[in-house]
Subunit: 382 residues, 4 copies
């Protein structure tokens, strides 16, 4: 089926393999009139680009995006926006080690069972490189959302057991370290830990947290297309994500109702609520209250900005758990296509952690999802 398509009104279809001709995406349904140029997309792509630090693959892709359609005289026309990044690093390689062997933690076996065979070059369609197309589409969505006053800010919350400290949280710090952690001290500790992982030929997982500010109350559809359900699907569809939370998430399962319910309140003055400045620089971003133009807010935000699947005007807070990079150089037990047990050691440079480069992917998926539901919601009333 059409598993590479998502969205109802803001519809996105992606294509491409890791070592094919390129990666691309078409956005069908972007509203007309948005100023858009390649630099808008490129800025997002650069955040997931490989080769930027000692912790990312050395693959030297220019990853230059080309807008092929849908923009005229600097503005979106309402017709499909096609974007493409050519793969420039397609050296002929020796894939004999993986073409017939199922890499643990990868989709190789599932693809073969599903389709009868697979493009084994660098993971083919199941490569993390596929997320490049998501980021390009997400960059468009994020720019539309900006015109609606919605901002999305994600960051690395933890790598292995090293977690950012809310007391040291500084949004501006995120872009000052290659791990995208908004806490310089945690970033330094994680950096050392990852050096250790590389030395041990091992890898580690982590958590991305994402704050979406400025979404008005009333976004999300009842029952199946709840805002949190759509966000969950969008984020879980990123390879390697194994868990998803909104607001207090699993902690809510241990809480009492009297603690977990957020009391509604009336904001007394504009600046006693800090919700709309998420990621703008202040530490309060964590324990913020929410605020709405109509003056109704909540005293706490255990709900993470969504009640009954519909936004309540508070900041939307979500988390995604990423598993460790499955490609490791250690020898692992596995099976080959002939049904024989064998061993595999995946050489070549692989990121010891997926999370830092996934931060912008989470933002992109969140942007697409929120925008689609906001557009869909335009028909909620006569």
């Amino acid at each position: 089926m059409a598993g590479s398509t998502t969205g109802t009104v803001f519809r996105v279809m992606t294509w491409g393999e890791s070592h094919g001709k390129g990666i691309g995406v078409t956005v069908d349904g972007c509203p007309a009139g948005l100023p858009l140029e390649e630099a808008d997309i490129q800025a997002y792509l650069d955040r997931r680009k490989p080769g930027q630090s000692k912790f990312t693959t050395a693959r030297q892709e220019g990853d230059r995006v080309e807008i092929l359609s849908g923009v005229f005289e600097g503005k979106t026309t309402g017709t499909p926006i096609a974007m493409m990044v050519r793969n420039t690093d397609q050296r002929s390689r020796d894939y004999s080690a993986i073409m017939n062997v199922y890499r643990p933690g990868h989709a190789d076996y599932g693809f073969d069972q599903k389709y009868g065979f697979r493009d084994y070059r660098g993971g083919g369609r199941s490569s993390g490189r596929e997320t490049l197309a998501r980021v390009a589409a997400g960059a468009v969505a994020a720019k539309v959302l900006e015109t609606f006053g919605v901002r999305i800010y994600a960051y690395t919350k933890s790598i292995g057991s090293i977690e950012i400290d809310r007391a040291r949280f500084d949004p501006a710090v995120r872009d000052q370290n290659p791990l995208y952690m908004p806490d310089a001290s945690a970033a330094a500790a994680a950096d050392a830990f990852l050096e250790e992982m590389i030395a041990k030929q091992d890898s580690v997982g982590g958590v991305v947290e994402c704050v979406i500010s400025g979404v008005p109350a009333g976004v999300g559809e009842p029952v199946f297309d709840k805002l949190d359900a759509c966000l969950a699907k969008a984020v879980m569809s990123i390879g390697a994500v194994k868990g998803f939370e909104i607001g207090d998430g699993f902690a809510a399962a241990r809480a009492l109702g009297s603690q977990n319910n957020d009391a509604f309140c009336i904001r007394k003055q504009p600046d006693d609520v800090t919700g709309s400045q998420a990621g703008q620089g202040e530490k309060k971003a964590f324990d913020r209250q929410c605020g709405r133009l109509d003056g109704i807010g909540k005293k706490t935000n255990h709900a993470g900005g969504i009640l009954g699947g519909i936004s309540d005007g508070s900041d939307i807070i979500l988390r995604a758990a990423f598993k460790p990079t499955p490609s490791i150089a250690q020898t692992q037990y596995t099976v080959n296509r002939d049904g024989e047990e064998t061993e595999i050691a995946i050489h070549g440079r692989h990121d010891p952690v997926i999370v830092p480069r996934a931060v912008v992917v989470v933002e992109a998926m969140a942007a697409m999802t929120v925008l689609d539901l906001m557009l869909v919601g335009r028909s909620a009333r006569l």
Copy 2:
């Protein structure tokens, strides 16, 4: 938009409000030839019926399902299966306490912001009673899945901090206590804890775990419609769910790659792998290996049966975190429709925990999702 519709091939549309004429669902796309009768649906509905224990609302609904179409001479015809449960408990009530006040933890405020007004009787469309329609559709899906050799078994994993002990896990015990816990000892402890909650006019959250056995490798679509992504959306769309995990979930974010990767293996003999007996009675259900007809399995199952969004033939294991019941009798601060701060105390009998009655809802959502992707997958190859 059409937020009450889900599925691509096995498509489901639900309708109904808590205190309207009834709750219903139409299943469009069920394959022809399935033996089906009202008793098949009723058996599922009875598992979420109110009034069954001291921990569920006293509402006395017969909740008798009627199949209105799509079945002829005892078999599905391939055309839409409409099902309805009439609301029999529609006593005229005094809703003045909630019609103008936003209950904390509920969708009241979001609905008003979205639609301009809302059916405030018992929560209207956002009532948990809406899940009745999901369960009816899920019962049909589960019966189709049975013919494919797929079984779904969910249970209460924890209530508050009281969690089942894997060493005492006994699937058969699940249906012997009103909390649907497969561990009699934990069920007894939770029972006592819930008595305490009732006395304190408070509520608590919990976790449902679900095991899906017998799904062949190759189910799920790459990129956006990954099996785990679709399951996440389906489960997160159940009201009150705040977190979702596949396999090791958030624990994977703290793991090393060398621990988290599951080694593929060849099964030596049919019975050295217990994956296909999930929920059939043995404790090994927790730490099972997986097995496939073609003999390829995995030595562990940290992945929870899904790699790269595609089933790997192992048991699929997922968890959903439910927040505490938001309706509590304690006085809470809130706001009314006129934008004034006020207080509310929600009287009447409310379940002190949502989880036990949600167990079958999780099964239903999982069944619809897996079936839809299995049917969609019929077109994966020529």
Copy 3:
């Protein structure tokens, strides 16, 4: 698949068989705030009710619609509107004549090939009675469209070779004869012709024409979801429709460009353009010019109100060709389920022509389609 579902934002799912428990429909995505009551729906249903004249089946169904959800305090809530009509005329009958024999001109054989068996009672799902659900949904759509200033008016254009004369066209006359012809003289001639058909145990086809007024320019999506393409699908999905035209239709295939192009013009005064009074009483409805609030119109309307798949502000004019009623009492050659040649004569009262009762069905399908695209179009611009 889900062939009983249609629409993107205004989504409709129907169910039911001719001799099952009833016929129903759920509308998921109707905007909130529309005043709606059962009488609104019933007025539409009554236009397709059997037993109203000598030319319709004698089946005595009350065909009373019940709104089951989605309306609160007299207004739509934005949540699914479920509607149902119980079948009251379900006498046990002798179906042995048709259960194993394929009726010529019917879907019996196709259903058996598709599903392996079929509900043969009165045609089951493929019965014309299925259109009742379309009409109920269309009635809701039409009422929403009224609030947008859009009116839909269909009528019988021809029965066999008897066609209305434009010179005698009078919209008010349509509802004064059971054939729904807006020309009393043609109606009388058709009446006599149908008497002859009944005597000869034969049937005849005809054409329905439909005028949609008040649609602003800019409705319809480029490429695949053009307004005329969506209307074509909607109308062709009515059983027995074999042809569809917009504007000049097949006549355009014989025209020259210099004749067929409609010149754009500026309206000099409000009443020199009569486009917006379609069906309001004047003969000019046929050869009308179009007019738009912004003053741009067309001097002619060969295009039928749609250019490049997008409305141009003129009246939208479409036609549907209906084949003769396939059920006739004459003996016909056919084949049975055992693959043997046999004969069949379909007794019982059948309408000698489908068209009059289909007029409101065409209106209903047009209404759903135009509304869905108008709602979808709300996202065309920022």
Copy 4:
């Protein structure tokens, strides 16, 4: 919305403007294992290429297709197939004549009303050049259908009033004249007529007929997704199509039931039924009976191969009416963006008739539609 996307399982999204960087399409949902190379696509594209005769625009596009993804080692992988044709003829031009003036018969005015502005270069997204993407996707669909034994053969049935004569019908002749008429004599007459049109700076319409052979009985979904309804939408979505017929089409509206019903029959010997050789060279293609592997056929085919929206195993026969090319050099009255009446004469070379180049587009749309419904139909039974 997403109007450039179509299909449920075989999903197609197109992009591109007439004078932008190129035209492209992504096919998401093509089954894995189909041998496919660029030459397969190119053969279809060459049939709609401009510059091939005196009746087509002189635009010299190479129109070379590039497959960007989804094919590995010569076979489709089941993942999205992206294809692109770069526009090579993008000379800077003077568009001042059309950028502010609404061309009669074109979508200019509707686009401006919908989106606020438009890419006016050569019609932008509404250009006939957009069909290139449809043909590329259709070529893939047609190749899949071949493996199912389904063939699609379309041709020019008429240009203006000049129609092919069934007695002279020869499928092989179609590709021997630039008008794609399977009757050499009619082609010669049409050729002369078109010369006259060119001299008069005028244009003319025509009809394309399409025969789809080899579709088994049982394809198409009841109610809204009937096979004929889906074909109608697909074909009507081609720019300039104003009418659509299945089988006898509008003639059925004048027929009697006793004439129009096709009697079912049993085929006596394999070769007494010629239905499966449509377009293979014999004249009988017109008046053929149908045949099925199970031996059930029809003595006539007024139905055009579809009963109740479901294929009956006979040849599927459809027709599309194309209006005259709206771009003509004669002076026409119109209006400009400032709301002033003005005149326009569209210079440059334009085809005097759209039909010949549209023949392959009709085949492409038919192929996509039939394939999608055949894949969807794989879930009709358990």
